[in-house]
């Protein structure tokens, strides 16, 4: 929000090793975009440097010209799917359009960190609209539908419903995935860490207060 300097959240980006250092290696800074050369960028806030990187990454996606579809094997929510996709197809589109996993939503259309398309790839939260489907071959992808399937209904979803952390619900699945990834990595996070760690998702109806309560409850749960 606003000027980069307005944000109390930690300014990023991180190193390019593909591993987020976060706060004390806690992974509090939760955005890892794995793309192309393996360069990773973590972003929780409106940080100009991150935005530039995202813009460059976006150009890379656009630069992928139309090409014949290739076979792409994706492992999503524990199931393997074989799809015929052009190399330029994003993970978001493959999940939403081809696999009908519609919890993974396209809201900003341009990797501008709205978070509605957040999925977990090999344990890390990722913006699937900024990731090509072919990049996730051989990796494990979890969507909101996958989170819901864990242990019947996941603790995170129960907490969201309890604290009414949804209104129109359009940002909600992405937020659920973000909270799930955050809680798994930071089970004992305090409020400050939660607010920083969940800065990568936008809501228009204004459900942040409920999401905050849900995340606090999940972190206390220590699961």
């Amino acid at each position: 929000m606003r000027d980069p300097s307005t944000d109390s959240r930690e300014t990023l980006p991180r190193e390019s090793s593909g591993e987020s250092s976060g706060r004390s290696g806690s992974g509090v800074n939760r955005r890892d975009f794995l793309r192309g050369t393996g360069a990773a960028v973590a972003a929780t806030a409106m940080v100009s440097q991150v935005q530039e990187t995202i813009a460059q990454e976006k150009k890379k996606v656009e630069a992928v010209a139309p090409a014949a579809p290739v076979e792409v094997k994706l492992t999503v929510n524990g199931k393997e799917h074989t799809l015929q996709l052009e190399p330029r197809v994003t993970l978001q589109e493959a999940l939403h359009h081809d696999l009908q996993l519609t919890g993974c939503k396209d809201v900003c259309g341009a990797a501008t960190n709205c978070g509605a398309c957040t999925v977990i790839v090999d344990g890390k939260p990722v913006y699937s609209c900024a990731t090509l489907a072919i990049e996730t071959v051989g990796k494990k992808v979890t969507t909101a539908e996958g989170v819901a399937a864990m242990e019947g209904v996941s603790q995170v979803i129960n907490a969201f419903v309890k604290h009414d952390a949804t209104q129109c619900g359009y940002c909600t699945p992405g937020f659920v995935v973000a909270v799930k990834a955050f809680v798994d990595k930071n089970p004992g996070a305090n409020l400050e860490q939660i607010l920083k760690g969940l800065g990568g998702n936008l809501c228009r109806c204004g459900t942040y207060a409920g999401v905050e309560q849900a995340a606090v409850e999940c972190c206390k749960g220590g699961k």
Binding site: K105, A110, A148, R204
Partner: protein, 724 residues
């Protein structure tokens, strides 16, 4: 037998009404299983993309869609504008292409971008520049509005005298800029033809009224159109119409012989799918030494797009009216996207203009703002003076106003803290609603209504009303809504839905219950039905169990019992007119211009509350949206190019989870409120934040930041102006 009357039960006996009840579609939404229009895809669905104009004012001079016909995957296309047509704002729709995959449709749009040609015309987009608009012949003189109906000269003389007699006269300039609705699910439609029948899934606030618009636009029978909206990803007042892109979707589906889905892209959503008009004002207020306002003179201007318009002059000043008052409105005809109703139109702007100016009077008099607002409560126009006073007392206690208050600007150090308040009003009366409640002989219950759940919890509210009436758990009723094939109900706008559906469903349910009681009376040989009551899955007589709900329903025989409910009616199930008070505690970093909200308190009445959990969510959501439009979000038009330059989620600044501070939603609900019946809540709490936060900032730094949103730059500019 006692007369049977519609009404709500005794408050203390309610099992569900007024409690914290979880949203019945919460799990479906959280798990990604709720299918929105943007998710809806029947087999073979084509994906459409849009070509839009990149000029603020132009004529379309060349475009040939033939080039896309042979492109891979392309199956249908549509041209919105003919050659020679005038384009009046950045983002106007020129053409659409539908293809098997989104990438293919985008390839076609890129190809069209290379061949489309425009004759560029002069534009005007500066919504605050009244003088510039006049020079460019883009200024409309709109209404003048006076308190007195006497002739103009007498009114002017009276106002002039009141100012001359006033102890203090404050003059100030204020403003609140245009914002977009920014629905996270953009406007859009999925269209599929089944013979002559057209199936429309669309993100809409109006399932019952939209089929007529498709029928008219496509020249088909209204009965051939079905509009469905199971879920809607935000509307906020912008999703009532079929829209030209919706009609184009149906036309392309016809051309392709396949279903087509067209959702606006993010930039187009911001540019053409709805904005909230701006308001800028020069306001003079005269007041007595005790803070009583005796005179008001305002001139305001703004834009709702190319049509001019802006904020309705007849509603300024807001909530309050003053003895000697005149106001004058101008509209600026800007080459900007059209306005649509934005949550509580146009109250947020009216409130911002009125109550920031009032607060400046307090500053000028050296008064506590609380005392000034209290002093003027006798001038409120909605009759809720006593309620406002009570709400002010409650809010002040919650935010610790007395202990924390200091005079405007009476602070030290670079980070300054301040308090602000504002108050608001809204109608929220029940909208037209018709529903069917169906009770099956096995005791299961269904309902059907052509209303919609736009995230406000309509499904949950109806479930609570039915379950409460029949003495069932909330899972014992199945609510069907969101289809134009169900009984017609009003669009969801203006906070009329909760009243509309609650009243109609309660009437239907009570009517059905009375018919079941009659059968129970006969079956069990009761003298009267007067003592009968449905509770905890049983029919009780006095406190004694007569039979179970299922046994009672089995008396219906083989046919289900169907009862229609309608409304609104004058039977005290619903009513209208609410008020609310908000107070904020903020800090302002005078070196960076950054405003942070520490605590934001809302005290709001809305009559009888059906679900307190979702009611509080409406309030905290509104406060969050309020923080957005007060501190960061705005449409930024580039005067040189005439373009909307921040039409994306990166540069259109919305708050994130760490930006909102502590939000406190206090629902004002003494028995007097419960007894008023149900009133809508969606709009009112989003009204006060602009004035409230601006007043808190003014209290902190001792100078008014005149224009909302209070971005760091505007705060620093105001501070610089004060030092100059």
């Amino acid at each position: 037998m006692a007369e049977r009357k519609f009404g709500w039960g005794s408050r203390k006996d309610n099992a569900l009404i007024g409690k914290d009840i979880q949203r019945i579609d919460g799990v479906v939404k959280c798990s990604g299983k709720a299918k929105y229009t943007a998710d809806f895809a029947t087999p073979g669905t084509l994906i459409a993309r849009l070509l839009t104009c990149k000029h603020a004012h132009a004529k379309l001079s060349a475009l040939d869609l033939a080039i896309v016909e042979k492109m891979p995957g392309v199956k249908a296309w549509h041209q919105f504008k003919e050659i020679g047509a005038e384009i009046k704002w950045d983002g106007e729709l020129i053409a659409a292409v539908a293809a098997e995959r989104a990438d293919q449709a985008e390839d076609a749009i890129k190809a069209l971008e290379k061949v489309v040609k425009y004759e560029v015309l002069e534009h005007f987009v500066d919504e605050a520049d009244k003088a510039g608009a006049e020079a460019a012949k883009r200024l409309q003189k709109l209404g003048r509005n006076a308190r007195s109906e006497a002739n103009k000269d007498d009114v002017d003389a009276g106002v002039k005298k009141a100012f001359a007699d006033a102890k203090v006269v404050h003059k100030g300039t204020y403003g609140i800029v245009t914002i977009s609705h920014m629905c996270l699910e953009p406007h859009g439609t999925h269209a599929e033809w089944k013979g002559d029948d057209l199936d429309i899934h669309m993100s809409t606030q109006a399932v019952s009224t939209t089929p007529a618009q498709f029928a008219e636009g496509l020249e088909i029978e209204m009965s051939n159109v079905t509009v469905t909206a199971d879920y809607e990803g935000g509307g906020f007042g912008s999703k009532f119409a079929a829209e030209e892109w919706g009609l184009a979707t149906a036309k392309m589906a016809k051309q392709a012989g396949k279903p087509v889905r067209l959702m606006l892209d993010r930039a187009t959503e911001l540019k053409v799918a709805g904005t909230r008009p701006s308001g800028f004002a020069e306001i003079s207020i005269g007041a007595a030494a005790d803070g009583t306002i005796v005179a008001w003179d305002s001139v305001h201007w703004g834009t709702a797009g190319i049509a001019g318009g802006g904020v309705d002059v007849t509603k300024l000043p807001y909530v309050f009216d003053f003895p000697n008052r005149i106001s004058q409105q101008y509209g600026l005809m800007c080459n900007t996207g059209p306005n649509k109703a934005w949550r509580a139109p146009p109250h947020p702007q009216l409130c911002a203009l009125t109550m920031t100016a009032m607060d400046d009077v307090a500053a000028k008099l050296g008064m506590d703002s609380y005392d000034l607002f209290l002093k003027n409560l006798s001038a409120v126009t909605n009759g809720r003076e006593a309620v406002y006073a009570d709400q002010m007392r409650i809010a002040a206690k919650e935010i610790d106003w007395k202990a924390k208050w200091h005079k405007h600007g009476d602070t030290k150090g670079p980070v300054k803290r301040g308090l602000g308040m504002a108050l608001h009003t809204w109608g929220g009366g029940a909208g037209a609603c018709k529903c069917t409640v169906k009770i099956h002989p096995d005791g299961s219950v269904e309902s059907f209504v052509g209303s919609q759940d736009i995230g406000t919890g309509t499904r949950t509210v109806i479930s609570i009303v039915l379950a409460e009436t029949f003495g069932l758990p909330i899972t014992g009723v199945k609510v069907n809504l969101g289809s134009s094939k169900y009984p017609a109900s009003a669009p969801s706008g203006g906070s009329i839905t909760v009243g509309g559906v609650s009243g109609a469903h309660r009437r239907a349910a009570q009517t059905a219950l009375w018919q079941i009681f009659d059968k129970v009376q006969v079956k069990y040989g009761l003298e009267s039905t007067d003592g009968l009551n449905a509770k905890d899955g049983s029919i009780l007589n006095g406190g004694d169990k007569v039979c179970t709900w299922k046994e009672a329903c089995s008396l219906l025989g083989k046919m289900p019992l169907e009862v229609e409910g309608t409304g609104p009616k004058d039977d005290k199930l619903t009513s209208a007119v609410v008020g609310g008070v908000q107070m904020a505690d903020v800090s302002v970093d005078t070196e960076t211009g950054i405003v942070r909200v520490h605590k934001f308190v809302s005290v709001q009445d809305c009559g009888l509350i059906i679900d307190e959990l979702t009611a509080r969510s409406q309030v905290t959501g509104a406060l969050t949206m309020g923080i957005a439009y007060s501190l960061s979000e705005e449409r930024i038009m580039d005067n040189k190019t005439g373009r909307y330059i921040n039409s994306d989620l990166q540069n259109y600044k919305l708050p994130r989870i760490g930006d909102i501070g502590e939000l406190v939603a206090i629902m004002y609900q003494p028995d007097s409120e419960y007894n008023r019946g149900v009133i809508g809540l969606g709009e009112p709490p989003v009204i006060s934040p602009g004035a409230c936060l601006s007043n808190a900032v003014a209290n902190a730094i001792g100078v008014r930041v005149p224009v909302i949103p209070l971005t760091p730059k505007r705060v620093l500019d105001a501070l610089k102006g004060a030092r100059a």
